[in-house]
């Protein structure tokens, strides 16, 4: 008998060692309720995110016939066509160029504005409101106004430059000024980034500056030795978010250049998001567009990974353990 009993107790013993812990941590009814509460997201994630990603990958290896809703295996054809299409390379080059120009300028401008506001007391609220208004303006309205402001001959921006004795460029026509004109529009709406910086600046302990000024550090030195390191996690966050946004730029480029057939510089204003959109919803070449989307995904992941790698060396996290 003893030999019979023993293996049984050993047999249940092993899982029992885990089970009581689990039972203590998870109440069955509570866990079920938890799943029920998150079920809308679970369904949405399964269909609109994960399912959509898998399907998009599948489409990128297929020819998609929209009329019949059928796919035919294409192997690597879409990816090959993408590599062979000089417009993809051009769009990618334009987009990267835009991001490299836009992101640092946005960071510097937003940081400058936030530092100015941080030096004010109550009146900061008034300026913050004023500076935030562009962010509330719908991008179509911004584009409609800047479309006229940026006009090379009659636009207010060139008139203003003229007053300073500078002859303004043909912003919306000259290929080398197409991207700066979108950067300009982006900078006008930089206040979201500014608000994030302002929140970070408010958290920098004032004592640090007191000590630094006792040691004779001037405002500039204090900015680079105290402010920048102390808000480095906000800088890091903004760089990543703005880069991802810049690589997907669409609205401004579409509204200023691609609304209709009259595009004065179709080469310079071809951004990746615009070309992808055209391939998908003007040409209805879903396979090609899905391949483009996955290339963009890989590029964004790679750039973010490099930024995270590089950033972690410099970023100071508050309460780092």
């Amino acid at each position: 008998m003893a030999t019979l009993v023993r293996p049984r107790s050993v047999g249940t013993g092993a899982p029992a060692a885990e089970r009581p812990i689990k039972q203590r941590r998870y109440n069955k009814r509570e866990a079920l309720a938890g799943y029920l509460f998150i079920s809308p997201w679970l369904v949405g994630f399964a269909v609109f995110t994960l399912g959509a990603m898998v399907y998009s990958l599948y489409i990128s290896f297929s020819y998609y016939n929209l009329a019949k809703n059928t796919t035919r295996p294409a192997g690597l054809d879409n990816y090959r066509a993408m590599v062979d299409d000089p417009k993809v390379a051009l769009a990618l080059k334009n987009t990267l160029f835009f991001a490299v120009m836009a992101v640092p300028l946005e960071i510097i401008f937003a940081l400058l504005l936030a530092s100015l506001l941080n030096r004010l007391g109550r009146s900061a609220g008034v300026f913050r409101t004023l500076y935030y208004l562009p962010k509330m303006t719908p991008s179509v309205a911004t584009a409609a106004v800047f479309f006229l402001l940026l006009n090379g001959n009659t636009g207010a921006i060139n008139r203003g430059l003229g007053l300073l004795g500078i002859e303004g460029p043909q912003w919306l026509i000259d290929p080398s000024w197409v991207k700066p004109s979108i950067v300009l529009m982006t900078l006008w709406g930089v206040s979201g980034t500014m608000v994030i910086f302002l929140a970070a600046l408010k958290n920098v302990p004032r004592e640090l500056y007191e000590v630094a000024s006792l040691d004779g550090a001037g405002p500039v030195r204090q900015f680079f030795t105290i402010t920048v390191p102390m808000i480095s996690s906000a800088i890091f966050f903004n760089v990543i978010v703005l880069t991802i946004a810049a690589l997907q730029v669409f609205d401004q480029a579409f509204l200023l250049f691609w609304r209709d057939q009259n595009n004065a510089s179709p080469e310079s204003s071809l951004f990746y998001g615009v070309y992808l959109f055209q391939q998908a919803f003007r040409q209805f070449d879903f396979g090609f567009a899905a391949a483009m989307a996955w290339l963009l995904f890989v590029i964004i992941m790679a750039i973010t990974a490099v930024q995270v790698r590089f950033g972690n060396r410099f970023v100071y996290y508050e309460g780092d353990r």
Binding site: G44, N69, Y131, P134, A144, R206, N262, G273
Partner: protein, 317 residues
């Protein structure tokens, strides 16, 4: 790291509810003084000059727009901030020129639906992640955060096919339908808020016999109104702004079914001389101004929610 309390260890800084700051070992002053204030007169003057200068830069396009909207056709480009000839009639004519009322009606309906649905669904999901303990919670919440980084282009085409196969092409359902399932950033934001509520509150209600849904409905939701408003306002604005979805799903339909962004894009093209238009940009300016106004009103009433929401975005990293 052996026994990680799910929910407390995942979000380092932002997870701290406001009350925790009081227990800090080194209690800080409630309102710390400004860290650096220019002491010299020159410094102060310079600061104010810069602030006013930037204000003018940010406001100039608004003033320009306002002026252009009351100018006659030939003068829209003249850059005068006080029009040579006032033509307030633009505001009366624009309604005949463009189906602006339809566009705004469509956009308001879609934005209300989108905002209300996403605020409700996200807060239900957020409560699930914040209150209940269940296997895989940390992993699933990690997935929520990961989807925030996903470029929209990757799911654009399959989502189009989903709506097409469900027979919703040409309707506005694709512009709000996915909001039934919550949205990553809003789930994150509302979960932060729920985590800040004292757990005893819920335990007491449990003892009194409240159901799980009752906890959410009667305790969590009423207390979470501020984060609910943040989500609502953010999504309302995002929806009002959404050009790409309108281009994909509504562009083939009638002009009257357009939303505001699509409508303005359409009117920019309509009046362009290159397309046989007459260059009546004053109507585009009136329309641009009129579709901006609702957002400015929204900001006037909900400014602190917008600012709070954006600042939360920064703490997500």
């Amino acid at each position: 790291m052996s026994v990680t309390q799910p929910g407390t260890g995942t979000m380092p800084v932002a997870a701290q509810p406001a009350g925790v700051a009081l227990a800090d070992p080194a209690p800080r002053r409630r309102r710390p003084k400004r860290w650096y204030r220019p002491t010299s007169t020159v410094g102060r003057v310079l600061l104010w000059v810069l602030l006013v200068l930037f204000s003018l830069l940010f406001l100039y396009p608004f003033i320009w727009l306002l002026a252009a909207s009351v100018k006659p056709k030939g003068q829209v480009f003249d850059n005068r901030l006080i029009p040579e000839t006032f033509k307030p009639g633009n505001y009366a004519e624009v309604w005949q020129q463009l189906p602006l009322l339809h566009w705004m009606g469509n956009s308001i309906l879609i934005a209300l639906l989108a905002a209300a649905l996403v605020a409700i669904s996200s807060s239900v999901v957020a409560f699930g992640f914040a209150y209940f303990k269940f296997p895989g919670r940390t992993f699933l919440f990690g997935l929520v955060l990961a989807t925030m980084m996903l470029p929209g282009a990757v799911t654009l085409i399959p989502q189009y096919l989903i709506w097409k196969n469900l027979g919703f092409l040409g309707t506005n359902v694709p512009l709000w339908g996915a909001n039934l399932f919550g949205s990553a950033f809003y789930i994150f934001l509302q979960r932060q808020f729920f985590l800040g509520l004292p757990r005893e509150l819920f335990e007491a209600a449990r003892v009194d016999g409240a159901s799980y849904f009752g906890l959410f409905r009667r305790i969590a939701m009423p207390l979470a109104i501020p984060s609910f408003i943040i989500v609502f306002l953010f999504e309302f604005q995002a929806s009002w702004n959404n050009l790409q979805a309108a281009l994909i799903y509504l562009n083939a339909g009638g002009v009257e079914d357009f939303t505001v962004p699509l409508g303005i894009a359409y009117s920019m093209t309509k009046y362009a001389p290159g397309n046989g238009g007459q260059g009546d940009y004053q109507y585009v300016m009136v329309a641009a101004l009129l579709v901006t106004l609702p957002m400015l009103v929204l900001f006037a009433f909900g400014q602190r929610y917008f600012i709070e929401g954006v600042a939360t975005q920064g703490r997500k990293g």
